[in-house]
Amino acid sequence: MRIVEQALKGDRRAIARLISLMESGGPEARQALSRLYPHTGQADVIGVTGAPGTGKSTLVNELAKAYRHQGLTVGIVAVDPTSPFSGGALLGDRIRMSEVATVPGIFIRSMASRGNLGGLARATADAVHVLDAAGYPMILVETVGAGQSEVKIAGMAHTTIVVQMPASGDGVQAIKAGILEIADIILVNKADLPGAEDAAQALEAMLDLGSVRAERLRDELLGVGGSGADANDLPGPWRPPVLRTSAIRGEGIGDLVTAIEEHGQYQRDSGLKAGRDRKRAMAELRHILQSTLLEHLLRQIPEKGLEDTVERIVVREMDPHSAAQKLIAESGLTRDSLCSCC
């Protein structure tokens, strides 16, 4: 496929068209991806997540500048939410990155979530694969403004940065499950604002409360430490550093770059990288299987059959779980399903 060959050479237009193809999906997209996938696996993927308005885009801008200064080219994928009502989106991350928008060697792509939950778009992983194959050694992925449950980025990035800001919650808030757990690095951004020290201390206290066992459990759940490595041989678990930054002032970025490097080194030294790569591949595979199988199933069901089933659910003749079982059984997708005449 010519577009893949061009993208592999770094042609920006081909990269852009290829990412659009991935977003559209379909057989041509799958074909393109299988052509470029062998060329992936070189890039470092850094995830940036956090609540809306915490300064993620501004931070990504600063990080991109820092990496470019080191002579590295940078790919950026910035995700914003799709309207659940109109299906449209206002992609407003790029606007914070105008400093790097025309720097040669920096590629910025805005993506709409298109209804996907978890903080990313369905095609975000594919967009990252395209940039990876095209030769960008650093890829920064910015999620939608995330709440406590948008944790999908952890399954995609090598290093996940969770961005917090002052005055957004106390010590109890900091120990709630979810987004803070996926952090490899925690940032208190807008550190020039009052409350920054309190925020940092609450986060450090939260980390102090966690036990070594809990951190190992977390690493296990994230799929690290695979292939039978003896727990005693592994280095101590990674304690996410709590850093203070002011992205808009460009402060604290040097420490952040160092922390990212240290985390990367830790993963290589500890052998945890391999386990995480496996977990990442599993997550992606499951995600694709889920949507592919659903599409396949829905194609087997006549539209009227689906509508009638929905009607039966609404009038409480049938519950949604039984309805689903019935549709699956009737679709012929399962080996031991009854014949459709029964």
Binding site: R12, S20, G26, S86, G88, L90, L91, R94, T102, E295
Partner: protein, 136 residues
């Protein structure tokens, strides 16, 4: 299952700092189901062309109220052409005297929409022109 959306770049070109109108338009296009990349103020022709390239947009909407359109817009059109983006639909909004419109259309602008244009008309214009251009 193929998922197609109209992607539009909305930009303020040049030194003009009035962005209320352009934000209203961006919002209307969002509500019409399009994916709108809003690049904000003080965009140079180079920034617009590069963004259009990286974002692989179907259309570009440029807002300019400063009177500099006859200098800046042709530069944008030339850069788009140089990047291989001649098939991207370009609309201009803002303050453009009627007398300047033919020259802008001559350089490839698809339409000029001044004050008084309804949001419906703008949404429809984007829809129709993008469908008509059928970019592959």
């Amino acid at each position: 299952m193929v998922d197609e959306k109209i992607r539009v770049l909305i930009a303020k070109l040049g030194l003009d700092g009035h962005d209320r109108g352009v934000k209203v338009v961006a919002r209307a296009l969002r509500d019409a189901g399009m994916e709108v990349i809003y690049t904000g103020l003080h965009q140079t022709p180079e920034m617009i062309a590069e963004a259009a390239l990286q974002e692989d947009v179907d259309a570009v909407g440029i807002s300019i109220l400063s009177g500099a359109h006859m200098v800046l817009v042709p530069r944008v059109m030339r850069l788009l052409k140089d990047c291989g983006l001649s098939d991207v639909v370009v609309f201009i909004g803002g303050i453009v005297p009627d007398a300047d419109v033919p020259a802008l259309l001559d350089v490839g602008v698809r339409g000029v929409y001044g004050p008084g244009t309804t949001l419906d008309a703008i949404v429809e214009a984007f829809r129709q022109e993008v469908a008509g251009s059928e970019r592959t």
